[in-house]
Amino acid sequence: MSQRYEIRFSGAGGQGLILAGVIMAEAASIYDGKQAVQSQSYGPEARGGASKSEVIVSDDFIDYPKATVVDALLALTQEAADKYSHDLKEGGVLLIDSDLVKNVPPGKFKTVAFPIINTAKNEVGREIVANIVALGAMVALTGVVTKESAEKAVLARVPEAFLELNKKAFNMGYDKAVAAKA
């Protein structure tokens, strides 16, 4: 992979999407030895408002740090799906929360849907790890970092008391995406 691979995590402020992007980029940059840049864009609100976190992964030097043509997009809210799917490339992949994004944006890309937040809440046990469920799913769908590196990056970022919770969230997201993709 010498070309840029562009990933965008989007949703509402407070959902932990910036952190999800940071972990994905760390997995690529620190654990997989690739080049990665993570950037973000958010409104002045601490909670709510459309928020996005972008990760560029490449084997080569990355100049422009923002997305140009998005390869993979996560949208956790309808607003984010509407606002951030316009530059998702043909043949790209869109991951949505099937409970929250009812109107799938039109385009020639593959859409994968499962109840991400509900999975975190009811199957993992804590809604707060929805970002890690989503991250696991994005790792499975993009294949841009290895599963092992991503899991290491997750565990390096979370407090010790929550290691198992996050590990479970990550793996559940990964498995659900694999199943939903099939």
């Binding site: 940071v22 973000q40 100049d63």
Partner: protein, 377 residues
């Protein structure tokens, strides 16, 4: 031993750079999008016996770093546009009192409170002309997380070497993005300390120009005692209105920088050797420009990039030479023409200078620059 690497945010790298340079005092008032600089300093300074003070406002913050610097400490403050406006009165004081200090200003949309989370490059004129009166200015505009670390170290070196305030001005994109950084080992990057007086306390004068254009600065709290004021001052630091002296002193304070351009001005040239079209850009916009240059080259257009690393003093000589060589210069920037005006001044009509301006809170993307390259080639 393998070097320490981390995946760091720009603001965090600026703070780490300050610590590498030996900063032991931070006085500030947090403001988006610069807050992480204060956050890191508040965590790290107590560990090394340094001091972190959150002041009542930006004016107080700037005053606190000037005071701390006069005791011999290397000092930092961090802010963004509205805070930079407030600091200006005291920045002028640091200029005339010749007090080393480093100001990290993360550029967000303005004027006034503007767009707190949106990127901008519209504070570069404020770095030079924000405070009133004639004064020298040094302003660095890094374009990556690694460079933000290294340029903060260099800012401290320049501040201490030339005894003046130095600004580091990343735009919000560079300050908030994260990249892999390789930490330099201690001793790997040059670290400059201010010149201490070589005379006895009785003989010491804080502005003794017999030692050259940058007189040695003693530390308050030691046996050296001296007077500091915002008024034009004599060698002893006390106010003076002696016409010839004031004229000479004003000129000296400009000359400190003007006579040392080769030591201060830095830039990077990319694919310029045979270029017909040159992009002149700085900060995150230079990264878009580099992308556009590569795309243009793929399409057979001879484009190149002149990346400004030191915005002030402006690379006058280099831009003038560039203007004599290329057919067109394109100046993309996240403001309405601040760098473009400087480039036109240096080009003196030798080549056409075409700006791309964006102030809507979105970055200038490579496509916009490529389009302009094709339009003007």
């Amino acid at each position: 031993m393998a070097k320490k690497v981390a995946f760091l945010q720009g603001n965090e790298a600026a703070a780490q750079g300050a610590l590498y340079a030996g900063c032991t005092f931070f006085g500030g008032y947090p403001i988006t999008p610069s807050t992480e600089v204060a956050e890191v300093m508040s965590n790290e300074l107590p560990k090394i016996g340094g001091k972190f003070i959150q002041m009542e406002d930006e004016i107080g913050a700037m005053a606190s770093v000037i005071g701390a610097s006069l005791t011999g400490a290397k000092v930092l403050t961090a802010t963004s546009g509205p805070g930079l406006s407030l600091k200006q009165e005291l920045i002028g004081y640091a200029c005339i009192a010749e007090t080393p200090c480093v100001i990290v200003n993360v550029m967000r949309g303005g004027p006034s409170t503007g767009m707190p989370t949106g990127p901008s490059q519209s504070d570069v004129m404020c770095a030079k002309w924000g405070t009133h009166g004639d004064h020298a200015a040094i302003c660095l505009t890094p374009a990556s997380v690694q460079e933000l670390f290294e340029e903060t170290v260099r800012a401290f070196n320049l501040a201490e070497k030339y005894r003046m305030p130095v600004m580091v001005m990343p735009d919000e994109i560079v300050a908030h993005m994260r990249e892999r950084i390789v930490f330099p080992e201690p001793g790997e990057l040059e670290v400059v300390n201010r010149t201490a007086p070589s005379v006895s306390p009785a003989e010491y004068k804080p502005y003794d120009t017999s030692f050259g254009d940058v007189p040695p600065l003693a530390a308050f709290g030691t046996e050296y005692r001296f007077h500091v004021t915002g008024l034009n001052k004599g060698q002893d630091g006390f106010p003076t209105t002696k016409a010839a002296w004031v004229q000479a002193e004003e000129e000296r304070q400009i000359r400190k920088v003007d006579a040392n351009l080769d030591d201060i001005v830095t830039f990077e040239e990319y694919e310029l050797a045979d270029a017909d079209v040159a992009i002149v850009a700085f900060g995150s916009t230079s990264r878009s420009a580099r992308f556009a240059v590569n795309e243009a080259r793929k399409q057979g257009i001879k484009a190149g990039l002149f990346r400004i690393k030191t915005f002030w003093p402006f690379p006058d000589k280099q831009i003038a030479a560039l203007a004599g060589k290329v057919k067109r210069i394109i100046t993309p920037e996240m403001n309405l023409g601040m760098c473009t005006g400087e480039v036109k001044r240096c080009a003196e009509g030798k080549t056409e200078v075409v700006g791309i301006f964006r102030v809507d809170g979105e970055p200038i993307n490579p496509g916009q620059i490529l389009e302009k390259i094709k339009e003007v080639k």
